[in-house]
Symmetry: C2
Subunit: 199 residues, 2 copies
């Protein structure tokens, strides 16, 4: 599962990167919503922060806690869909594919290195969250949230990457009228097909 590939960057990726450029550093542009399916077959949906593409791939990288509900969902059913709406340029990207967790047990060296780098890149405030008490349990006393500054070099066992490997990208341009919509699909060859459809 190493991330190296030699295909050119898909067109949808350059559209996302352009839209991020138009957002001019607005942190909200990096907020996306990732949907998963619960073991009971119901949808779940929450906001996560885009942390970049895994080097050498077109896989989207997020971080999460192995104790989170989304990590549980992914272990049970890996399919996810990310909805990324970039308000400044009125572009929506719906990226569907398999989600994978990259934990401390990951044996792929490139992915383990990506996990390490993502940990180091986090703010101290965000790193402390991985030492907070178990999510969704009844609220712990305030002292349980007072944690010492974590080691920025060594991620804890609670820290993992959430990686989306898109196989379909549905791009809707609401900034044009009539709206434009294009669906990109990953082929077995590793190339992306592209179809222009009605919005």
């Amino acid at each position: 599962v190493t991330g190296e590939h030699s295909n050119p960057s898909p067109h949808w990726r350059s559209l996302i990167e352009r839209a991020l450029g138009e957002a001019a550093g607005d942190p909200a542009a990096y907020h996306v919503q990732v949907a998963t399916v619960t073991p009971g077959g119901r949808p779940a949906n929450r906001t996560v922060v885009f942390r970049g593409f895994i080097a050498g791939t077109d896989w989207l990288c997020f971080v999460t806690d192995v104790r989170s509900q989304k990590a549980r969902h992914v272990r049970n059913q890996p399919w996810g869909e990310v909805c990324w709406y970039l308000a400044a340029s009125r572009q929506q990207f719906r990226l569907a594919g398999e989600l994978a967790l990259v934990t401390g047990d990951e044996t792929d060296a490139a992915l383990q290195q990506a996990r390490q780098a993502a940990w180091t890149a986090l703010s101290d405030r965000t790193r402390r969250q991985f030492f907070w008490p178990e999510p969704l349990l009844p609220r712990a006393r305030p002292a349980a949230f007072e944690v010492a500054a974590p080691d920025g070099a060594q991620p804890p066992a609670t820290f993992c990457l959430l990686v989306l490997r898109p196989t379909q990208v549905d791009h809707l341009d609401v900034g044009s009228y009539p709206h434009r919509r294009t669906v990109y699909r990953l082929q077995a060859s590793g190339q992306w097909s592209q179809e222009t459809v009605n919005p």
Copy 2:
């Protein structure tokens, strides 16, 4: 299924309304992501515009086209989860419940009236979209998108409400540190329980 109820407004609703007030008319504050499950059991996720609560209820109202994929999903499996992230106040609300379509065939007078009112409230540009060619088919020629100004009083058969009846609301306040998280659950009595949990 009429929308009348006599219970007081749930606390999560007043929190949403306060956060909307803090957003001070920013249109992006009304954009939410709704997740559904496809007939194949995979998640789907897209941005929709919040159109208000159905009068006399705490049900969230959106509009959609009966030909859209989300309408197809809801007919197959009604469970949905809306993720509403209000960036200005750093509040996230995850609203889970059953989704329902209110079409021209709706026999409940209050819901049919809500459909009528939602149609009238739309902009002319938005109303025209309901006369565009079938979504997701190969892109039609430009002339197919040139439609005359629709009658603002009479919604077409393609126009329906998408109504979420929340039964659980997960509120995460990322603006405070440590984050605050509260889960609200609708009881059989019609009252909402409230549990403060670890974020």
